[in-house]
Amino acid sequence: MFEPFAEVPAYPLVFPIFWGAAAFFALAMARHLRVFAVARPSRPFANIPARLIGLVQYAFVQTKMFKDMRAGLMHAGIFWGFVLLTIGTADIVTGGIVQAVLSAPFEGALWAAISAIQNVVALIVLVSIAWAYVRRLVTRPARLTFNRDALVILAMIGGVVATELLAQTAQVARYGDIRGAFVSNALAVPLRGLSPSALEGAFSLLWWGHIALVAAFLCYLPFSKHLHIATSFPNILFRKLAPRGELPQMELEDETATFGLKTLQDLGWKDLLDGFTCTECGRCQAACPAWATGKPLNPKTFIMGIRDMAVDAEHGIDLIPNSPIVRETYGLDDTRPAAAALARPIVDTAIPYDAVWDCVTCGACVEACPVLIEHVDKIVGLRRNLVLEESRFPAELTPAFRAMENQGNPWGQPASARTDWTRGLPFDVPVVADLAAAGGLDDLEVLYWVGCAAAFDPRNQKVARAVATCLHAAGVNFAILGQEESCTGDPARRMGNDYVFQILAAGNVDTLNRYAMGERAIVTACPHCFNTIGNEYGQLGGAFKIVHHSTYLAELVASGRLATLPEDATSTTGDHRPGAVTVHDSCYLARYNNVVTAPRSVLAAAGVTVTEMERSGKATFCCGAGGGRMWMEETRGTRINAERARQVVETGAATVATSCPFCMVMLSDGLAAADGGQAVATLDVSEVLAARIAAAPPDRRLPVIAG
């Protein structure tokens, strides 16, 4: 006769205690969902296979956790321990069904193996918990939030595991070895001499202590930051699958709509889920360049602020919901989210006004987050509301907005000056409109999308000349749009002005389609143009194949179309070998669009050896110009470009290679201020390559390249 837990006094009480706690947990979670119901709909249901693969990758294998290897191991220890120990808990709360079933195969060997594994992971969890306590009480990494919640949760997990292990130990000491439970069996050896009644008492106390802690944990969890154990799975499943650089589309013609994000109700429920998933691990905070330079923006407190707002809105909702029939019968009102909390603006509640504008939209927070929370889209959403509804933004942005609206570029330069950079080149740069008029468009291989920075900023005009020189030297049949090009709208969009973005973008889509540019490659040296044309113009009906110049130039070299000088040769234009080189990755190139190796391939083709910075590739540190910050004063904290310049100088490199016009401006300025002179040069990868073009005929030589 199968009699599970016969040795446990009053065992049947487990059922009301555990399942009561479980019901409380479910009701508290359902109350969270009542607030979700007043949020805007999110529809993250497309592409289920990719979502499931992501669930395995991020929720079970937890790849992002291991970027901080030690914290990752600790977390994996607790996570897997917890998962495996749940088998034992499931057995207890189901009256031993689990054991009954799993004991059947192989004459109980399977259950014995499970018991052994549980013993091992119990020890691993306890060691991990101890480690977690050391981090919170002794080493105290800056990114963590230190509050009682974390200590309570750790104590509960530790308690649950310890009581389970020790109860088993007492059981073994009193009733004899349990097959497979080798740790308990060993621990019980010195206890065997104790009186049976003492062991029975200890066992009862520990066993019931374990159940009490499990129940308490369930009741505590919905109100704790530790809720991520329940929410991270759906949060990862329902993550943004669109390119990370594609901001949400915006409907501007609905006069009754709220533009952008103002209150909790303007967020999607997925945004609220983000809030309930945040565990305050602070990886976003540690990665944030604004926070690193002493600005009020903290991505972690922003997300937690959204969660706090959602919790505030729950006040007024009863834990046990009434059904409509019950309400009707007894004349009760439905309890609803607190209206005042729902009407409260997010800005200056969850995030300070200044912090909204401190964001460089570099995406380091999103990249760092182990549970795939989206910070940037929400911050841009807040900007949209401030700009489009309240006309409330840093004063410096007005001229930039007006210049984009009136002149089609944030520099406020006339369109007629767009081809000024071609002056002084020893060859002609054809303009698409001229080619079309002459019927020469069919032979066009590549459209070179110059971008406003390279067209108007004197330093970046040199980069445009280097790019054109490389294309020309490789014999690429390319042309530019000239006066017909305008700003892609990236800065306007990321500053929250989607109205100006949509005007500019629609104009460009129209121009590009008029010349059938969807049928050939578009090459640009600007990662912002690259991201917007490639990832965002689809929202306006544009389908273009855009290639970053680093990728294109690397291909030209690889395919043999562009020959470079042997390593020991001196360039025909004088030796511009840039000495020791480090690479600064652009956020919108590396992090947003995964272009990491191409700039390095270009440098390798130029015979350059690269010394990497600590923050490189997808973990790069922003130059400070993203998200429209190029056109804002940086008055709070220290300067982001100065911090990045410091990191550049630390490598000892003589040159920092960039592949973005904004990075070029910010790093040149930062380095000039950092070392008081030009000790470290800033060069675009195309400039480094252009200086090493082999056997360039005299008319294809680059006239000027050094910084």
Binding site: F259, V387, S391, N406, G677
Partner: protein, 264 residues
């Protein structure tokens, strides 16, 4: 408070393409038009004054401009003006400042207002005489170079801080009055999207010379008091040299630079 703001569409100064046609008149097709910068400051001042006392307040834009002007006027309406009055007539082409003032005065006679605000000058003509001339035609007090405007509605007066060569003059005049506005009044607002949407359906009334009961032979190019004989584009600025380095290096380079040009 009812305020009329005089507004002129001008070629975008930032476009750099402003040029005169063969007839000495502005080639308006060459560059996109924007609201004259100083007029935007006047409009901003008007919007702030009416927002302070919204009861019965309105801001009317008045513009004498070619037929294409409404597109530009909508941008000013988007900032928050109530409505627009657009005076346009083929006979007005080539008008001088005197004609312009005469026409605007005639249009103002048909409007009710407590104040008329205008930018101190326009970025295309830069004459700066029209506001004073309009005031003269209508016999209104004229308060120029306003850096601050403080109306006292119960008393029916307005006080203006007028920028003077030595500081400020404090002027007071009975309303209605005409005030020419400077940038010291405060940055013009950037329109909200709702403002842009609302502007699409705001009224822009069109007035011809006949509507204003003006004889076409008394205004326009034919009777212009001034004529443009020739224009010259200023030479492009030379290259800029930025001096970087330690203070000593910088100073040495600057001295060299000045010495080369025999300035020192």
């Amino acid at each position: 408070m009812r305020i009329v703001v005089l507004v002129k569409p001008v070629p975008d100064p930032a476009s750099g393409g402003e040029r005169l046609g063969a007839n000495g008149r502005l080639d308006r097709a060459a560059v996109p038009a924007v609201v004259n910068g100083n007029d935007e400051y006047a409009l901003e001042a008007a919007l702030k004054l009416t927002a302070a006392a919204p009861e019965g307040s309105e801001v009317t834009l008045l513009s004498m401009a070619p037929a294409s002007a409404p597109e530009t006027l909508r941008k000013a309406l988007a900032m928050g003006a109530t409505r627009g009055v657009h005076v346009t007539d083929p006979a007005l082409a080539g008008s001088c400042a005197v004609s312009t003032a005469k026409v605007l005065a005639a249009a103002l006679k048909q409007l009710e207002f407590d104040l008329v605000l205008a930018g101190v000058d326009t970025s295309d003509g830069l004459g700066g005489t029209v506001p004073a001339a309009v005031a003269a035609y209508l016999g209104l007090p004229f308060l120029s170079y306003a850096a601050r405007i403080e109306p006292d509605e119960p008393a029916g007066t307005v006080r203006v801080r007028r920028i003077s060569p030595t500081g400020y003059d404090l002027l007071e005049a009975p309303m209605p009055a005409l005030i020419s506005c400077t940038q010291a009044l405060g940055e013009p607002r950037y329109p909200t999207l709702k403002g842009i949407m609302a502007a699409r359906s705001k009224e822009i009334a069109t007035r011809s010379l006949a509507d204003l009961e003006l004889d076409p032979s008394t205004v326009g190019g034919a009777v212009a008091t001034t004529q443009v004989l020739a224009t010259k584009v200023p030479p492009a600025r030379g290259a800029t040299e930025v001096v970087r380095g330690t203070p000593d290096e910088g100073a040495t380079r600057i001295v060299e630079f000045l010495a080369q040009r025999r300035i020192i």
